[in-house]
């Protein structure tokens, strides 16, 4: 797959603070790329760099294989973006909000109305935006980003402040974009469970560095499943398992967690504990969630 968005050694400093540090990432065409990182990791700065809102100190951004610095306008014609909160004029109607941007770009009225339909705002399009709910505003901002029928959609925290129903609506919309409209999505979010449900690729940034990039499957493959045990004598169980070379972590109470390599390890641990006189109440082999992996990776 060709890369839609690529950065090479991208660095941005603000005085002594290095917000993005030698970041090299690649967003494949047709992917939903989940861009993760703790607060202050450099996600929004990276997005602003990718859109040319700020200039890099070192390095470069390529959009569709072209350097953004030299072909900014041509590249941005193929990009739609929602950076942080929605930028809307509250005194104007939803349709007029799109109309302002439409008049500044090459978008047709038919495309504007299609975008409204896509986010299901046709019926409310002529009401002032100040009367919209937060979810409607977020959907209108998405319509704004989608109006030019972009090939790349860059979304920074698109579900910020939404209730569960709103989050679900946005998630479902994002899921349809690559398949039905051929749009590549670059999505930054704090909501790891949401990312896990929509992303095909993941990039994890911490302190300005990209510490993981690859498919969601590759990320899971790198992280061993965990066995959660409940036993009658946790201290003895811990000593037994240590003696057999397992790395055990106590969860408090009668619960223990250890990283394993599959079902065969579970059987082996079961046997070792039983033979040592430890009774097991519960054995639960868990695949780590994206949240577990994220926390493990970023807190390592």
């Amino acid at each position: 797959m060709d890369a839609t968005l690529t950065t090479h050694n991208l660095t941005r400093r603000f005085g002594k603070l290095t917000a993005v540090d030698a970041l090299t990432l690649s967003v494949p065409q047709g992917a939903v790329y989940g861009f993760l990182g703790p607060n202050g990791a450099g996600k929004t700065t990276t997005i602003r760099l990718a859109l040319g809102l700020i200039r890099p100190t070192i390095g470069e951004v390529l959009l569709f294989g072209q350097p953004l610095r030299r072909r900014r306008l041509q590249s941005l014609r193929r990009v739609g973006a929602l950076v942080e909160g929605p930028s809307l004029y509250p005194h104007l109607s939803g349709r007029d909000n799109l109309e302002v941007t439409r008049r500044l770009t090459d978008v047709t009225k038919a495309q504007r109305d299609r975008a409204l339909a896509l986010v299901d705002l046709e019926d409310d399009a002529d009401r002032p935006v100040r009367t919209y709910s937060l979810g409607m505003k977020q959907r209108l901002a998405l319509a704004l980003a989608l109006m030019g029928e972009p090939e790349l959609l860059i979304l920074d925290e698109p579900t910020n402040g939404l209730d569960p129903a709103g989050i679900r609506e946005i998630r479902e919309l994002i899921c349809t974009l690559p398949q039905e409209h051929g749009i590549t999505v670059f999505l930054s979010s704090h909501l790891l469970a949401e990312i896990e449900q929509v992303a095909t690729h993941i990039g994890i940034i911490q302190q300005g560095h990209l510490i993981f990039e690859g498919t969601l499957d590759a990320l899971h493959a790198q992280n061993e499943p965990q066995l959660v045990l409940e036993v009658d004598k946790p201290q003895s169980a811990k000593e037994v398992l240590h003696a057999y070379g397992w790395k055990v972590r106590g969860n408090g109470g009668h619960s223990l967690t250890l990283a394993v390599n599959g079902a065969a390890d579970v059987a082996r641990i079961n046997m070792q504990l039983v033979q040592s006189g430890v009774n097991i109440y519960n054995l639960n082999l868990q695949q780590p969630t994206l949240e577990d992996i994220f926390l493990a990776v970023t807190q390592a």
Binding site: L51, V83, G85, H91, L92, L104
Partner: protein, 252 residues
């Protein structure tokens, strides 16, 4: 050309239902009402014997308009236009569009100029209307002659051109700094300073005083070309500088 037209129409659409738009009509109206109120109250000939009452009446309105009301109005108007974008953090959206940044700023500049231009276009009509009201309600003020339409429009245009420099400076301040207070405070301070420095030789070229200085020549029917050039050409130069400066700024 089509792009310019489309962008201008986008800017005017943004002004729909805004205070900034209504202020363009309210500001000249308030100036005329203020002056008419004073003349109404005096109920006697106000103009010196050798000066036509219409010209004196026009001068009074245009001097105060140029020296005080207009600079304050420009301050408020440009600050309001700036807040249209700052309030919801629109710059990040606008500058991520496939449109040159300088062009977007230029349209914003035009938006402010358009609003103030509307005021300057409305002012002669309101001035004449106020004079006609006084002629009817207070014959003693002796607004008996013909309405000096040409003078009213000529000086309104001259004041407008002379104010370009403050329009561009205030637009730049209001776009460059997010705070409404900064934009307003700067305009108010510079306007008050204009009242104090106007009598100094160099004070005639103080950007916030130029429009008042030009308006003060109304009864003499002379145009202060140097001040007019400083105001208008200075405004164009400032607009280019501001466009360049804003375009190279990071959008954080």
């Amino acid at each position: 050309m089509a792009m310019i037209y489309q962008s201008l129409s986008a800017e005017t659409l943004k002004l729909k239902h805004t205070l900034a738009f209504w202020l363009a009509l309210v500001a000249p109206l308030s100036m005329v009402v203020l002056e008419c109120g004073m003349w109404f109250d005096m109920n006697t000939r106000v103009a010196p014997p050798e000066v036509d009452s219409w010209l004196w009446y026009g001068q009074m309105i245009y001097v105060f308009w140029g020296l005080l009301i207009m600079p304050l109005f420009v301050t408020l108007e440009t600050a309001l236009v700036g807040q249209l974008e700052h309030a919801q953090d629109h710059w990040k959206h606008l500058y991520a569009l496939p449109v040159p940044r300088g062009f977007i700023y230029g349209m914003k500049q035009f938006s402010g100029m358009l609003l103030i231009g509307i005021s300057c276009l409305v002012l002669p009509f309101l001035t004449a209307l106020g004079g006609l009201f006084l002629r009817w309600a207070r014959p003693a003020v002796e607004l008996t002659g013909p309405i000096p339409w040409f003078m009213l429009f000529k000086y309104s245009l001259a004041i407008y051109l002379g104010a370009w420099l403050i329009i561009t400076i205030q637009t730049w301040i209001s776009q460059r700094w997010k705070s409404f207070v900064v934009a307003c405070a700067a305009g108010v301070l510079f306007t008050i300073a204009g009242v104090f420095v106007i009598n100094a030789d160099w004070g005639q070229y103080w950007p916030w005083a130029i429009a008042g200085v030009i308006g003060n020549e109304f009864t003499k029917n002379t145009l202060l070309v140097p001040q007019l050039l400083v105001g208008s050409i200075g405004g164009v130069v400032m607009a280019f500088f501001a466009g360049w400066d804003v375009a190279r700024q990071d959008v954080l």
